[in-house]
């Protein structure tokens, strides 16, 4: 009996103890859950921060700190990850020439398929101030060139200094010559014979930009004028290869870029080109001055561009004598070319990435608009070219073009041609 009473008391006591402890136990459990939840949230937060840091880069996410004794802002240029940047572009061109010239005589031109150019860009950014950029090109599947290679050093946010093998900053195509950028299966003749794309020479200069403009000012080795022809300045390019630098030239450019989609600008070049050659013990200058006005507008499906370019050559008689040119083969003392081109994307309103752009280009070029006394101008160098065609871009970086060119000269020697090309940029 005694044992039963004791047992009952023990049971009651244990029950009372359990009842009294139960809320405390539940509270402790809830507290533990809250702690664990907070800890879990903290860990997830840490993981997402680390993920963000990895995605954006430590130079973006981490707080400012000093490097190399410089203030935080100045140190930042040294924190950017270094890296090699690769890119490239290229084009294949098929040309089908008419059997006859415009005067009905046989053209003698043979159709041609050409791996015109494959180009590799290589750049390296040492820090935010200093970078190297270059373009290495293989033309016609066998000829290799250094198209440009330079070092840039940024003096301020707006101004930098550039040295190396530089693209002359004239016209629209010379600096921006990737095939997907321009319409037409071939580059305009104005930017081939008067602005001799791709025109690059060794030099040094300044470049800069503001909110609504950009500019460049270079000193470069000049042309070798003894390679000029009646067909223009193209042969005078030295392309950076052991270039004669007795004569230097100055090239400058100014563009208005304040309206998205629009480039409106002027550029110019001047320099003597005889490169130290003399005629009858007298120095020859052979100064060449080139100017251009250009416009490029791309927006809402429209692709419109136009260029007017001219060139004047001094001491032409002496230059012709140096080279041994006579009659209608002499260098023009005055050259003029212009073109106007327009295209419109027929698929602009479609949801796809494809673009289909019919285009029309009209162009006139005369590389002997003026000649020296005693020389004559060849009417064959007074050209009119009308190009009509279409470009298809499946994405903005790839283009296929089909175009027909109607060539006409003042001598009725033009040969029409049908062209097809493939181009890419990456």
């Amino acid at each position: 009996m005694m044992r039963l009473v004791l047992s009952c008391r023990v049971t009651i006591a244990l029950t009372a103890l359990l009842i009294s402890l139960a809320p405390v136990h539940e509270l402790h459990a809830q507290d533990a859950d809250s702690v664990r939840l907070a800890e879990l949230e903290s860990r997830i937060e840490a993981v997402t921060r680390e993920l963000e840091r990895m995605q954006l880069g430590r130079d973006v996410v981490e707080a400012d700190s000093s490097i190399q004794g410089l203030g935080p802002a100045a140190s930042k240029v040294y924190r950017v990850n270094q890296g090699v940047s690769l890119g490239g572009y290229g084009e294949f061109l098929y040309e089908n020439f008419a059997a006859n010239r415009e005067d009905g005589s046989g053209s003698g031109a043979r159709n041609q398929a050409d791996a015109l150019r494959v180009v590799l860009y290589v750049g390296y950014k040492f820090n935010d101030r200093l970078l190297f950029n270059s373009e290495i090109e293989i033309e016609h599947a066998k000829e290799s060139f250094l198209e440009f290679a330079y070092l840039d050093y940024r003096l301020t946010d707006q101004v930098g200094i550039r040295g190396g093998l530089l693209l002359a900053p004239l016209g629209l195509v010379n600096e921006l010559h990737e095939p997907p950028i321009f319409l037409g299966t071939e580059r305009p003749l104005t930017e081939n014979r008067i602005i001799p794309t791709t025109w690059r020479e060794n030099g040094i200069g300044l470049f800069g930009s503001g909110d609504a403009f950009s500019w460049r000012l270079y000193v470069m080795n000049s042309f070798n004028g003894t390679k000029f022809t009646a067909g223009g300045l193209r042969g005078g390019r030295q392309k950076g290869a052991k270039a004669l630098a007795e004569d230097m030239g100055v090239a400058a450019r100014f563009d208005y870029t304040g309206t998205p989609g629009l480039i409106l600008g002027v550029s110019g070049y001047t320099g003597e080109t005889a490169q130290g050659q003399e005629l009858a013990n007298q120095p020859v200058g052979g100064r060449v001055s080139i100017w251009d006005v250009h416009l490029d507008y791309k927006k809402r499906g429209w692709d419109v561009r136009g260029v007017v370019a001219g060139a004047q050559v001094s001491d032409v008689t002496a230059m012709n004598s140096l080279i041994g040119l006579e009659g209608a083969s002499g260098i023009g003392s005055n050259m003029l070319g212009w073109y106007l081109q327009a295209g419109y994307d027929l698929l602009r309103t479609s949801a796809s990435t494809h673009q289909l752009i019919p285009y029309l280009r009209f162009e006139k070029v005369n590389t002997q608009r003026g000649v020296a006394a005693g020389f004559s101008a060849s009417p064959a160098n007074d050209l009119t070219v009308t190009s009509i065609g279409a470009a298809w871009r499946p994405v903005t970086q790839v283009i296929a073009k089909l175009g027909y060119q109607i060539h006409s000269t003042a001598a009725n020697t033009g040969v029409n041609q049908l062209n097809a090309s493939l181009g890419w940029l990456f």
Binding site: D59, E62, G87, P260, T396
Partner: protein, 208 residues
């Protein structure tokens, strides 16, 4: 005389290089970018964890040429006086070989409020000018937000213009799916203080 002039030019060039003002760098830090966008607003860092269906919906909204792959999206909600004023997203993508980070601010009207280049590692001549980025201000996710639409290409920097345009479409699509202002708008309507924690899909954490 000519030599003297040459020396002066050389001295001027050396002085220019030696005392050139420090460049502000092509890179902003995340803090600098957020300060530019929101100045003295309160910022809250949030992370959205998207399921496959949400990612697929964002991908459809973004369009056929825009990649939407990430299932973890961090973003920064700015408030003044308890009212949301905008949200900032940071998008990282490749331009040519190297990555670019842009900050996109979306306003409470779900339109682009600001686009800022935070980090650009390709040569600076390919970087999108500020004036060009202003084209995106006030844009919403529609057919005009495209290089075929109202956004003009950058001649000579087509890879950059394509990358920024795709990033903007991607962010607006993610924004539509995440709906970061949803809870705040409901709060304002219902005056329910507890609704601040109602965004069940998000993990929220105070940033500052």
């Amino acid at each position: 005389m000519a030599l003297l002039t040459g020396k002066r030019v050389l001295s001027a060039a050396v002085m220019t290089i030696a005392f050139a003002s420090p460049i502000s760098a092509q890179s902003l830090t995340q803090d600098e970018a957020l300060t530019l966008a929101f100045q003295d607003a309160q910022l809250e860092r949030r992370t959205a964890f998207l399921d496959d269906e949400q990612v697929a919906r964002a991908s459809t909204l973004a369009g056929p040429d825009v990649e939407v792959e990430s299932t973890v999206v961090s973003y920064y909600v700015a408030t003044r006086g308890g009212e949301p004023v905008g949200v900032a997203y940071f998008d990282v993508h490749r331009v040519r070989t190297l990555p670019q980070v842009v900050m996109l601010v979306v306003g409470t009207d779900n339109r682009v409020g600001r686009v800022e280049t935070v980090s650009f590692r390709e040569p600076p001549e390919y970087r999108a000018p500020d004036g060009w980025l202003e084209q995106f201000h006030g844009r919403e996710l529609d057919g005009e937000l495209s290089l075929k639409g109202a956004i003009a290409n950058i001649t000579g920097a087509t890879l950059t213009s394509g990358a920024v345009t795709r990033a903007t479409r991607r962010v607006l699509a993610l924004h539509a799916v995440i709906d970061p202002f949803g809870a705040e708008v409901h709060d304002a309507e219902a005056h329910d203080a507890d609704a601040h924690d109602a965004d069940a899909g998000d993990l929220t954490a105070n940033r500052r």
